[in-house]
């Protein structure tokens, strides 16, 4: 439903140009959970903004295509560019932001903040109808209706995040984008929010794109996972496959860093830091920290290749698709 083709989205500030998304090709399909993993500053939040079509200056799409495919009122499929997606915000595609602390208006009741998302949509004209709809949806998600009358400061952090999830899904959009939905929450609350997200998606059968630096989260919930590093996608594929057989050295290190029950081995952090997004090097971005680095890695960026069905990687270690049964080269 969403197609990104070699997208380059930069922040153009007077001081420098930050190449947050530097040539990303990605698809978001129907009825799936896509996880985007990567460390802080790799550009995944920007990627989400590009998917959403939220391009405020200084963020600008410099090259590439973003296309959304949805069905119009008559049921015919239409293709929209980023600017047109705007008109369908919240109904077709929604966005659950990071940092529930300051994302809600402190002097307005929760219910009004729900209503504000509806106001320009012509589906409902009756306030009572909307109220009924919101209340019943909250019940489905097992959220107390009293939340609607509350002000944001009266809710706990976990509660606020849940409210945000409800807010982002109550119009049953076909795509939900979530930016770090569990960061800054304690582990128990994290689980609760995650379950709520998964449950909502199950019922609506829509697509969910989750951005998180927490690999464990993706393992629990995502159908497909895309690993992002320094503005580029380095590996993408079905979650189980990627975890069983990570192809990119960076992915391997990320997965190795996950603690496992019963495993007492010493955890290794990855040494070094990602290169600057303002002045990225030619060639593979991970070259400086890669234990398997070769000369060709530094010269030219490896292309994203399909190594096995639906499992892509951008690494010179993998130049050909795997023959089934033969293992990795």
């Amino acid at each position: 439903m969403l197609r990104l083709r070699d997208i380059k989205a930069y922040y153009q500030t007077p001081g420098a140009v930050v190449k947050a998304v530097d040539g990303v090709t990605l698809d978001v399909g129907e009825n799936e959970i896509l996880g985007i993993a990567g460390e802080s500053g790799c550009g995944k939040s920007t990627l989400l903004k590009v998917l959403y079509g939220s391009l405020e200056p200084p963020l600008k799409i410099v090259a590439g295509k973003v296309e959304a495919e949805l069905k119009n009122e008559r049921g015919k499929p239409v293709t929209l560019g980023p600017r047109e997606i705007r008109k369908h915000w919240w109904r077709f595609i929604s966005y659950i932001p990071q940092g529930s602390m300051s994302v809600l208006n402190p002097v307005v009741r929760i219910e009004q903040q729900f209503l504000d998302a509806v106001s320009r949509k012509q589906q409902f004209t009756n306030k009572r109808e909307i109220h009924e709809r919101i209340s019943s949806y909250l019940k489905e998600l097992q959220l107390s209706i009293e939340v609607l009358n509350a002000y944001p400061h009266q809710l706990s952090g976990g509660m606020r995040q849940r409210v945000l999830v409800a807010l982002g899904t109550f119009l049953h959009p076909e795509i939900v984008l979530a930016d770090e939905p569990t960061t800054a929450l304690d582990v128990v609350t994290q689980k609760g929010v995650l379950l709520m997200l998964a449950q909502a998606r199950e019922q609506m059968k829509n697509s969910l794109v989750i951005v998180s630096h927490d690999i464990g989260l993706h393992y629990q919930i995502a159908h497909r996972i895309a690993i992002m590093y320094n503005g580029k996608i380095v590996e993408v594929g079905p979650t189980e496959r990627v975890f069983e057989m990570p192809l990119h050295p960076y992915t391997q290190m990320l997965i190795q860093s996950l603690p496992r029950v019963g495993d007492h081995k010493h955890r290794q952090g990855i040494s070094g830091r990602p290169p600057s997004l303002i002045d990225p090097p030619a060639g593979c971005r991970f070259a400086a920290r890669c234990p398997f680095v070769m000369d060709s890695c530094r010269e030219e960026m490896p292309p994203l290749l399909e190594i096995e069905p639906d499992h892509f990687v951008a690494c010179y270690l993998h130049r050909e698709p795997i023959q089934p049964g033969k293992g990795v080269r």
Partner: protein, 332 residues
């Protein structure tokens, strides 16, 4: 329960301020090298009348009683406070003897309240609206123009504005009368319309003078709030710009402005007093001026005390209304 505590401490401050203010009013004359009785006697005697010593003595003690100068200092103080608090009176006016000061104040106070309240509220509302517009899109040209305009007007004192307005609209382009004049029976339509017409220039001086501050501070506040996360998120939700400007930016930016209003009432009152006097507007200001010119001791003390009480009360009301606007303050 929290609110009760807040109310209690706020009221305590209120009464304390009034009490100390009136104490200052009481003590200032007694610490200055002035003796109103001698001065008054001097005036009477210099107007050419000759009096026998007993008559002078009698007059002196009458004056002392009228001025509240009998007895020791503590006795005077207690009498003054007792009379003011329990009888609500400041004694008889000396310039308009025997009219009680209270009657004179009762006639003038409504005028001042009318002028001050309407001008302050209008200035606050207009100033904040302009500031909101300017701050919401602070990179646009019109915003910078508005700000520049406010920067130009804000530092100018009200009475200077009053003078400029007088020069322009009384002398150069004679629209308004030179001095305040309203005839007719009070509160008849003709009276009211004449009153409003005559009040335009004084009100304009105060409105233009006061709104400058609101424009500038609201601009800064809204520009800051427009950058907040909840504003960006509202946009992502697809909320329309007018709603964002109103419900998301303004509702938050206006809160400090309410507090500031309570603080500024004293300053606005200061400026309004002089403006009243310049226009001959029949309010407390002109009354106080008359008291000064006529050395009407009691009237002076009365008008000043009432002025202090009025300002303190207005500030109290604004302060108490604040929790209604900010749900984060525990009210219930």
């Amino acid at each position: 329960m929290r609110f009760a505590r807040y109310l209690f401490s706020r009221l305590a401050t209120y009464f304390l301020v009034i009490w100390i203010g009136m104490t200052i009013v009481f003590f200032v004359p007694r610490f200055l090298p002035s003796d109103p009785v001698t001065a008054a006697l001097g005036r009477v005697m210099s107007s050419g009348s000759t009096m026998r010593p007993e008559q002078v003595q009698a007059m002196r003690s009458t004056l002392m009683q009228l001025y509240g100068l009998e007895g020791t200092l503590p006795e005077q103080y207690v009498n003054f406070m007792k009379r003011a608090i329990f009888a609500g009176s400041f004694g008889p006016s000396l310039a308009f003897y025997p009219t009680p000061v209270n009657a004179l104040i009762a006639k003038s106070l409504p005028w001042t309240l009318f002028l001050l309240l309407t001008s302050t509220v209008i200035a606050w509302v207009i100033g904040n609206l302009i500031g909101l517009l300017a701050g919401y899109q602070s990179d646009k040209t019109y915003s910078k123009l508005l700000e520049g305009f406010a920067v130009f007007l804000y530092p100018i004192p009200y009475y200077i504005l009053a003078l400029v307005l007088i020069i322009l609209f009384v002398y150069v382009i004679p629209i308004f009368p030179v001095s305040f004049s309203v005839q007719g029976t009070p509160l008849s339509p003709e009276f009211i319309s004449r009153a409003i017409f005559n009040s335009v220039l004084p009100a304009l001086s105060i409105i233009v003078g006061a709104s400058g501050w609101w424009v500038l501070s609201m601009k800064a506040l809204s520009a800051g709030i427009a950058e907040e996360d909840y504003v960006s998120f509202a946009r992502l939700k697809g909320v329309g710009e007018p709603t964002i400007m109103g419900r998301y930016v303004m509702r938050n930016a206006v809160l400090p402005q309410i507090t500031q209003l309570a603080l500024n009432i004293g300053t606005i009152f200061n400026g309004a007093l002089i403006t009243e006097i310049l226009f001959g507007y029949p309010g407390l200001g002109t009354l106080a001026y008359t008291a000064v010119v006529q050395s009407d001791y009691n009237l002076l003390m009365g008008t000043i005390s009432i002025g202090i009480i009025a300002v303190a009360t207005a500030a109290l009301v604004v302060d108490l209304l604040y929790p209604l606007f900010d749900p984060r303050i525990e009210y219930r």
